[in-house]
């Protein structure tokens, strides 16, 4: 007997609000990380954390609403996040070659 036939649903055991609170919490951790940390690699990780919080929220809503569009969105977010990370790390490498540092607070030449 499969899970579907028993009428078991994931949100019976753990309510959807818990998923939402968790993903908003993760999102806020990422957000404050971006605002307060100064190491570019940690900034990249924080942005990934924010994107994954969004993924969690999409998946839980998708399961709750019984609609597959949300899960479709998650795949695209994962693909784009990978592309973004590749470009971001490439930019970081070229910065490291010039300054021997990955701290973004040293990058303050442009002002006005």
């Amino acid at each position: 007997m499969s899970l579907l036939e028993t009428g078991f649903h994931i949100f019976d055991k753990v309510g959807i609000s818990n998923y939402l609170f968790l993903s908003v919490l993760l999102f806020c951790i990422g957000l404050f990380g971006v605002l307060y940390r100064r190491n570019a690699i940690i900034l990249l990780m924080c942005i990934e954390l924010m994107l994954n919080a969004v993924n969690l929220m999409f998946v839980s809503f998708s399961s709750y609403l019984g609609d597959s569009n949300g899960q479709l969105f998650v795949f695209f977010i994962m693909v784009v996040a990978a592309a973004e990370a590749a470009v971001g790390l490439a930019i970081l490498v070229s910065i490291y070659r010039n300054t021997r540092n990955t701290d973004v607070s040293f990058l303050d030449n442009l002002k006005g």
């Binding site: 570019a40 609609d67 006005g112």
Partner: protein, 470 residues
């Protein structure tokens, strides 16, 4: 849709030529591709009479190329065509970077024709990711590196916020495509119950998009990025990225959330627009670097474009925004082409580089002054036509916004007078010699100046076009 495919194939060809080191062919191929895509779009637009069924091409139900999106994509393609014409000879730019510009344009076209939030997200990302690379294309320069990392971090951050908004909207309405959103917001608007989920979702999406168009609480990245990036990337950001972001912005908010209007997002847009106009112009008047000045003036112009969201009628709003964008893009292209010409003479992008431009370069100075008049909004230029249309539409809804716009314009006169002061009025002992311009640069400047003056002198012709399309 066909135009999108043509441009994509052209971009792939450019990348291939980059690998094969056959870079001298790349610009002609890119220009040819863009011309082909533009003619296809024009034929589709004009065949409305020939083919009585409304041309609405759907792609998997996620894109819909109606007239407004065709017009927006035509504007984007035309501006990339002019930018490529005005580039310095090929040596300075690899074919692969050219391919990236074309990929970025693909994102812009997606953004002007989406009907599903997945497509909007993909459009924004395809538009931005090649630009992160282009901003850092001068790998050896610290300023280019800094611009790239700032643009990248701010872009990725704002995308994450926008996506959180999409997730909230999805949870609140159960739908991700524009028709579903429209229905849901109609229900909520009329029963006066926007749930907190939808409310915060709309505001998060608004924050993400205001980041992309660089409106004032979220503008701080743009001056640094504009100054540090290479000229070709800066001109792309200032024209095409802004236009594409606005195309997506007005489509989502007017079609998707149009019915939620008053309480939820309209006030935020209005406040942001008023602050952008006044503070953007004030900050621009203090700049000494031409690229920074254009970044701040771009922020102010963004404020004017945001006013176009206020009007009552959707097709009017889109049309006004299009006219305003056309004027903004032509004026910006003229100024950036002149900055690029000065740059190839070894001058910096400082405002002082314009000193004594008017003595030996009458044509360039004339074009510069016309562009500045259009930015200020002096009658007989397209800038005036656009501002007039936007402000009259807004006047019936929010009269005080018009006052803010006029105050901003008054400050703006001082900004653009800076160029005039250096180019014409300065009495310098060694004025600039006659500058070398390529044929492409001449064509770009002449075309943009003609657009500014012709549409400015004959706004009725454009109004007739509007009857044709809407």
């Amino acid at each position: 849709m066909i135009a999108l495919i043509i441009i994509f194939v052209g971009a792939l060809l450019c990348l291939y030529l980059g690998i094969k080191k056959q870079e001298s062919f790349s610009i002609p191929i890119a220009l040819f591709t863009l011309a082909a895509a533009m003619s296809v779009t024009v034929i589709q637009l004009l065949s409305k009479e020939v083919w009585p069924v409304e041309i609405k091409m759907r792609a998997g139900g996620m894109m819909l190329f109606d007239f407004s999106s065709q017009l927006f994509s035509l504007l984007l393609m035309l501006s990339l065509f002019l930018i490529l014409l005005s580039l310095k000879p090929v040596k300075t730019m690899g074919a692969d970077l050219l391919g990236l510009l074309m990929f970025s344009l693909c994102g812009g076209i997606l953004l002007s024709g989406f009907t599903h939030l997945v497509m909007m997200f993909l459009g924004i990302e395809i538009l931005s990711i090649p630009l992160y690379v282009l901003a850092g294309a001068n790998k050896k320069y610290a300023s280019s590196n800094e611009a790239a990392i700032k643009y990248f971090l701010m872009g990725a951050f704002s995308t994450a916020i926008l996506l959180m908004g999409c997730a909230f909207i999805y949870g609140g309405t159960g739908s991700l495509d524009l028709e579903g959103l429209n229905k849901a917001s109609y229900m909520m608007g009329h029963m006066n119950l926007a749930t907190p989920l939808v409310f915060s979702g709309v505001l998060l999406i608004l924050v993400g998009l205001l980041f992309k168009v660089a409106a004032i609480p979220f503008h701080f990245w743009s001056p640094d990025v504009y100054e540090g990036s290479p000229n070709r990337a800066t001109v792309f950001m200032a024209t095409i990225v802004k236009a594409a972001a606005f195309a997506g912005f007005i489509r989502l908010f007017a079609v998707g959330f149009g019915e939620l209007k008053e309480p939820v997002w309209m006030n935020a847009v209005i406040v942001s627009s008023a602050i952008s106009i006044i503070l953007g112009n004030a900050a621009a008047s203090m700049q000494t670097n031409a690229k920074r000045l254009l970044a701040y003036s771009g922020i102010a112009q963004t404020g004017y474009m945001l006013i176009a969201f206020v009007g009552v009628d959707f097709s009017d709003n889109v049309w006004n925004l299009l006219i305003y964008l056309t004027g903004y893009i032509s004026a910006t292209l003229v100024v950036f082409t002149i900055i690029d010409i000065l740059d190839s003479e070894g001058k910096t992008s400082d405002l002082k580089a314009f000193e004594g431009l008017g003595v030996n370069n009458k044509g360039l100075t004339f074009a510069l002054i016309v562009a500045m008049f259009s930015m200020i909004g002096i009658p007989l230029t397209i800038g005036f036509v656009g501002k007039y249309a936007i402000l009259t539409a807004a006047f019936y809804v929010k009269p005080w916004l018009v006052v803010a716009a006029l105050v901003g314009s008054a400050i703006g006169i001082g900004v653009y007078f800076n160029f005039f002061k250096y180019a014409v009025m300065s009495r310098t002992d060694n004025p600039l010699p006659k500058l070398n311009t390529t044929a492409g640069q001449k064509i770009t400047i002449a075309f943009c100046t003609l657009v500014i003056l012709l549409i400015g002198a004959m706004p009725m012709v454009i109004a007739n076009f509007k009857e044709l399309f809407f």
